[in-house]
Amino acid sequence: MFRYSLQRLLLVLPTLFLVSLFVFAIVRAIPGDVVDMMLEQFQYGKSADELRARLGLDRPLAAQYVTWAWQVLRGDLGTSLWTNRPAALDIAARFPVTMTLSLLSIAISLAIALPVGILAAVRQDSRADYAARSFAVGALSVPNFWLGTLIVVLPSYYFHWAPSIGSFTSFAEGWYAYLGQFLLPALCLGVAQAGIIMRMTRGMMLEVLRQDYVRTALAKGLGGAAVVLGHALRNAAIPIVTVIGGQMPFYFGGSIIMEHIFGLPGMGSFVLEAISRRDYPVIQAVNLFVAALVVLSNLLVDLSYGALDPRVRQD
């Protein structure tokens, strides 16, 4: 297991290097130059050359990359060209919001998908199965931005009620209120994912429930719940965990829309504004940070295989 973990950890390094190259290049591929924009829209400098030199954008791209990468290695993610604030400060302030929203969405997805998926598999082709499958298709078909808008708009029109938006409560002010403000956006984000995970759970459980060892366990007199949850579910878990891990970018991406609709001060709205202002250091910092998170979450998924399946550990 140690060797397995080490191998996975070592693979993270080249991945992050490639990601950093990609992030650095893709930011500069966005049409529109920050210097033009600063000069023409906001007139931050006297001439393009002077401003370019001031921002360090007059040097060759490779030199700019090396400088940036060295800064990042020293823990400096750069400073916003517009506000002079260190990007790390803003990320530190906004990341917990996006992370809470993502984790709560995952929790809601799992809370819906696992029991419903297991039930559908155990009672294959029953009414419960059909209902569960219909739910999955429905959840997959409903765009989360539409659901979010509906939740905000309809009650205000008919009942003059709207979710509390525009007064963000920090964790320090009360965990209950803090989590409460994420419930509706997390529900919108979680429902669609629940559909995917539920289908995967049902499919894997059906496959596992037909295995000989399940039949043997039942024949030996083990209870249904023990067999389903203790044996079948654990063996069906690897693909399910893989799906959840693979969905991490979706949770981050989806949170942008939810943050927008529910007025949450997360990373989504932050990076969107940075892109519209061509704030290179901020865009690079956020993208690299999110990419690192996705890589790490995939690493965790990989490592969880070992915990879930002894055969992986032995390999």
């Binding site: 966005i30 049409p31 529109g32 033009d36 924009m37 023409e40 829209q41 906001f42 007139q43 931050y44 517009w82 506000t83 002079n84 604030r85 803003d90 302030a93 906004r94 808008t149 905000v152 708009v153 009650p155 205000s156 029109y157 008919y158 003059h160 009620w161 709207a162 509390s164 938006i165 525009g166 007064s167 963000f168 927008h260 609709i261 529910f262 007025g263 949450l264 001060p265 997360g266 709205s269 932050f270 504004e273 519209s276 202002r277 061509r278």
Partner: protein
Amino acid sequence: MDALSIGSVGRRDFLKLAGSVAAIAAAPGEVFAQAQPKRGGVLKHIGLEPPTFDTHATISYQTQLISSFVRRTLFKFVNGAKYGPSDFTPVPDLALKADVSKDGRVYTIALRPGVRWESRAPVNGRELVAADVKYSFERALKKSPAASLLGRIEGIETPDKHTVRVTLADAYAPFLHNLAEPWNCILPPEVEDKMGDFKAAESLIGCGPFVLERYEPGVKAVFARNPTYHAKGLPYLDKVEWLFVKDRSTQLSLFRAGQVDISFYDGRIPRTDVASFKKSNPTYPVQFWDWLAVRTLAFRTDKAPFNDPRVRQAFSLAVDRKKWLAQYLEGQGWEDPGPVPAPMREWKLPTSELGEGAKWLQHNPALARKMLAEAGFPNGMKVKCTNWPGYGPEYVEELELLAFSLKQVGVELQIVNEEYGNYIRGSFLGKFDEASWGPSSLFTEVDAYLYNFFRSGQPNNRSHVADTQLDVMLDAQRRYTSRSSRKKVIDDIQRYAAERAYYLYTPYPKNVSSWTPWVKNYGCKNSFDRGAQLEVVWLDK
């Protein structure tokens, strides 16, 4: 010193107004005799988060809006329910009065004594003095993209601590008016000394009606009443919460539910939602009001085919402005042929007085086709037209309507949607191949609609107009401090511009705004000075 002209206000009027505003400040309750103002309460207001807090480093109106709560200008425009949205009568703010020399070049501004900066570091409640004004003007001249709106300043002197003397190279009629624009606010030099610049929220230190109590990036800014504000009794509100909720449907839902009092930075609600809004919230006031951002189709008049006036005039003849207004805008808007926006009534020349140019404002598709044929396009033409669809669905519909109108005369308008960054740094500044459509910025002085759009070399001269005769007139109207003389030149400019059709101005709607019924003395305004607009508002819950 001689007659002072600020927009439509003469020197005597101006001084009279100064007196009346001093009276308002002294006894605010007496002015609104019909309804007693109440002190207290928190106004929840959907606002906009600025890219920076430095008013001299940006043309962004988001910055002007948020800055105006705290930082103030020497003069301001009248505000409140009884004044029209385009009433730009200036009244004193940090200044008491201004005198101008006979030649219109020297302005002597007397500051209001006893105005104090906020009681916190680094200003610690010290008195605002002439040196602050000099510092702010010099900084604006050096850094602000709007510096040209101060005219050509030759020198700034401070004969004593409450007097500022500004000498201009030439007389510049809009000078005093532009001192009331929020980008021209007075800044304390200590803040730049201590913080290096005014980019951060912490630098929002001033002597206005409110002080910044809290700024939560991405969430809101909370402004509290400034206890040392110079206008006694104002503001009425204890606090204003300026909320950065970005989604339009969420903003309206919060408004419908009564969770916010004003649903957009200027109270606007979408025109398409008015009917349903009246149904769901029948007690909320709904007001249609004049808007000063004109819509233009700009041409590359520096090259073919739009260097031929017949082509531009034919385009204008294709638009049925009366039908556009009556059917699409349901009468709630303006046929406006530009360039002066119709709600600027004191400067606007009626179509009937436009002379020869008026004929290009008629709807005459047959003549349009004939003129296009004469210009070498007997089979019509294709024109690429850039725009930014992000302005909203109403704007997209208007452009489609324009395309439909042009199609009737054989012109195919090929609409090219641009990303905002590209649009604002490209097409908005005249960098397009053939044509570009979109709304103008909002200006409060007529000069900006003329000089910016038509003067050769100006960045907002999107049609690339380079007309020496027009340049002479544009420069001249700036030099006339007498309103009547200036009006004559501006009339001539409108006639001249109409004849040459350098831009095609399309009809545009009035704005429609609403606010919760307990918000009192709120007046819609064509200005980004939100602080001054809200200092006279109170809540009657």
